[in-house]
């Protein structure tokens, strides 16, 4: 099955935009240039439309945090029974028919990285899904173990001081993490070791096979993470990074990946009091590479992802980086940039067509392609906001 998108303003993200054509065949982008003469099974006249790579949400809880239903029975976000639950996987808690997936596809988000929540210093393993609702759940998985979720700051304190008083302070959060790392290293050295799921998961992080993504808002939490990770000779990647602007130079110097957001919630927790829309721009200027923006859906709705980019852009982030922060940068952050995140030949045909520019919040997504197939069409299914 081949599809030709004709005469669109094509935004490859990794290079300058141009008016031209894009050819999809067998789920991949096979050509993308000013004029394509090849015939295709289907041709879409995209005159006046904008063509972007499908957006990538690097941090959300769609499916694990069940929506539009009873919260307690369908909420599988946090396995709060213990501060260290490295062995659990978001994959096993995701409701594949959750309405959030539809919201995402209607918003033009074609890849979703779903993490366990932030109640635990070591919360479990995330999963990356292609948001193709036409195929069965297992076939949507593109990275079964996409990242190791950790958390600092208020959330572990709150969750575990209520549940059995296992953590009362930030000091204990750090201690739990250190102890868990040490335990895994001891396990590794044992000559005879009965298989231990938890230690095996943590070992992957220590050996660099699985990237740790650490929920941290305050600058002091960020620095604590760097201190602990230095001790074990590994490198973290940050989620939320709310006070990243206060330690931007340190993050740049160490070449740390940062995911920033959600930017639009009320400052109801102390640790987000210093949140500002300027953070992404400040990080960029300090030299932090591959800045990623996240909605943390359902914390803010997933269709706010391009709006975050637009407002970050208005507040100092370059336009180029703003576009990258919701497409190729999250792909790099997840180690999937060889497959997704930009309109380049041989990449997966995850494409959206919009009537206005993506960074104009009033744009409509007319088509969402996932793996070369139309996964959402506004004409067929109606507008999804």
């Amino acid at each position: 099955m081949s599809t030709l998108i004709k005469n669109a303003t094509i935004h490859p993200v990794t290079s300058k935009e141009f008016v031209g054509d894009l050819l999809i065949d067998n789920g991949k982008i096979v050509d993308c240039s000013h004029k394509i003469y090849a015939q295709a099974d289907e041709t879409i006249d995209a005159t006046g439309l904008h063509c972007y790579p499908g957006m990538i949400e690097e941090h959300c809880h769609i499916g694990v945090h069940g929506e539009k239903t009873n919260q307690a029975s369908d909420n599988d976000t946090n396995e709060w029974s213990d501060p260290i639950t490295a062995q659990v996987r978001a994959l096993d808690g995701i409701k594949p028919f959750d309405p959030g997936f539809k919201d995402a596809i209607g918003a033009g988000v074609t890849t979703l990285n779903i993490y366990p929540g932030s109640a635990n210093p070591m919360g479990g393993i995330g999963v990356t899904l292609k948001n193709d609702l036409t195929v069965t759940y297992e076939k949507r998985i593109i990275k079964e173990e996409s990242g190791f979720k950790m958390a600092m700051g208020e959330n572990p304190k709150r969750a575990h001081s209520e549940n059995g008083k296992k953590i009362i302070t930030r000091m204990a959060t750090a201690e739990k993490i250190r102890s868990a790392f040490r335990k895994a290293l001891d396990y590794d050295k044992k000559e005879e070791k009965p298989y231990d799921m938890q230690c095996e998961a943590i070992l992957k992080v220590l050996k660099g096979e699985l990237q740790a993504h650490v929920h941290a808002h305050q600058a002091d939490d960020i620095m604590t993470v760097l201190r602990i990770f230095d001790e074990f000779g590994i490198k973290p990647s940050f989620e939320h990074t709310t006070e990243g602007h206060l330690v931007a130079d340190e993050l740049a110097k160490r070449d740390i990946k940062c995911a920033v957001g959600p930017l639009f919630t009320a400052r109801y927790k102390m640790e987000v009091n210093r949140r500002t829309l300027k953070t992404p721009g400040i990080l960029e200027k300090a030299g932090v590479k591959d800045i990623t923006l996240i909605t943390d859906h359902p914390v803010i709705p997933i269709n706010n992802l391009p709006i975050e980019a637009a407002l970050a852009c208005k507040n100092g982030l370059s336009k180029e980086e703003a576009l990258r922060s919701i497409t190729i940068n999250p792909a790099i952050n997840l180690g999937l940039d060889d497959r997704i995140g930009s309109l380049e030949i041989d990449k997966d045909a995850d494409i959206i067509l919009t009537d206005r520019e993506l960074l104009d919040p009033t744009h409509r997504v007319l088509y969402t392609f996932v793996n070369g197939k139309i996964a959402y069409s506004m004409k067929e299914e109606g507008l999804i906001i």
């Binding site: 694990v64 239903t69 029975s73 029974s81 808690g93 759940y137 231990d196």
Partner: protein, 385 residues
């Protein structure tokens, strides 16, 4: 002892129904046909008066005798709440043969049941198969011990253990508990092998692990309680990871994942559907599941979950399925030969064929009609009215 049943419509479950006779010798079906050939030395002749002769129904998922009707706490032995993993407990050890529901079930044609532990625990306990007996003792009733290991996913384990503040409090946690159980069992197998190799006596027997080893060796299936699609998919994922045999119990959202179930070749037990949607995970419960299961041609049984839905009226649930378009003959099979196959007792039970046990019910009308009743029942050829 030779008994001849005459003047009946024989529903064999393996061929088309016919009007004829059935000869029983010492509790085993000797012959079934329009006119039995070997009609000498008959000790007893029963005139069926044109009624329908069927195999006794098999309720492959029941808690009959574990929580006898009308009894209180002292008689409630369904769930061993003390730990999320209780593979060392056996439903047989809590079975109360004086449960008033047992003769009632027989009146409703249910002569065989698989009695499972409850669904509070990710790993419940071992089940057994019993048949009706007037003698009200376990020894008489027992068909097979330890025929499956009950497991559970979804709301129930979450609810129970979030109250106890133990893992699991999420679906992710439930999957992790089950995985850990099997990994521990693999470690256990290694330990046993090592002792063997070294010629030392093995002194660390663990009855929880012994049950797990039976599942890993495919001696018995895992009987996994799943309602929601995500729970079913998680169960299938675990089946593949550990290469075990599995039966999905309840399977409330079967239709949503019918392709995956077919592909995995897992038998399912559907029901109880004739009940209220008392939990969130039952929201999409529908009688259509039976029709679709028949259309898909998968191996399934219609089950009661007694006392959730009384075993005595299991036949009416199957009748309701016909109301939703399910094939009548197919639904009869879902009460007889198909559950027999799922339980692995189809060599002796589940159909009217030469050599099988004479587990029979004579009905004065169609069992799907509430006004019909059994006028003669037999288990292994002994008259049990």
């Amino acid at each position: 002892m030779r008994t001849l049943i005459t003047n009946v419509v024989v529903h064999t479950m393996t061929s088309e129904p016919f009007k004829g006779e059935v000869l029983i010798e010492n509790g085993v079906i000797k012959e079934a046909g329009y006119k039995v050939k070997n009609s000498e030395k008959i000790d007893e002749t029963i005139d069926g008066k044109g009624g329908m002769l069927m195999p006794g129904f098999i309720d492959a998922h029941s808690h009959i005798g574990l929580n006898p009707d009308g009894q209180g706490y002292e008689y409630d032995d369904v769930n061993e709440y003390s730990d999320p993993v209780t593979s060392n407990v056996r439903s047989l050890d809590g079975f109360t043969p004086t449960d008033i529901s047992i003769p009632e079930a027989a009146k409703g044609g249910v002569m065989i049941y698989c009695v499972l532990t409850g669904s509070a625990n990710p790993v419940g306990g071992l089940s057994f198969i019993a048949k009706y007996s007037k003698k009200k003792n376990v020894k008489e009733m027992l068909i097979r011990e330890d025929n499956g290991l009950k497991m559970a996913t979804g709301e129930n384990p979450k609810r129970v253990y979030s109250e106890q503040k133990k893992m699991p409090v999420t679906r992710m946690g439930t999957a992790a508990v089950i995985r850990k159980f099997f990994f521990d069992a693999k470690n256990y197998i290694e330990k046993v092998k090592k002792a063997e190799k070294e010629g030392k006596p093995f002194t660390e027997h663990d009855s929880k692990m012994e049950a797990a080893v039976m599942v890993l060796n495919k001696q018995i299936p895992a009987r996994v309680h799943c309602h929601r699609a995500e729970d079913i998919l998680t169960a299938i994922r675990i089946k593949k990871e550990f290469d075990i045999d599995m039966v999905i119990e309840h399977c409330t959202e079967y239709i949503k994942v019918k392709d995956e179930i077919k592909e995995a070749g897992i038998p399912i037990l559907l029901g109880p559907i004739m009940s209220s949607r008392s939990k969130v995970e039952l929201r999409d419960m529908t009688f259509n599941s039976y029709r679709v299961a028949l259309e898909e041609g998968i191996l399934f049984g219609c089950m009661s979950d007694h006392p959730v839905f009384p075993s005595e009226v299991l036949r009416l649930q199957a009748g309701m399925a016909c109301n939703y378009g399910a094939d009548e003959a197919g639904m009869l099979k879902s009460l007889t030969i198909m559950p027999a196959k799922i339980l692995g007792i189809d060599d002796e039970y589940g159909s009217i064929e030469e050599g099988k046990k004479a587990n029979l019910c004579l009905w004065n009308g169609h069992p799907f009609d509430a006004r019909s009743k059994t006028i003669w029942n037999s288990v292994d050829g002994f008259l049990e009215v």
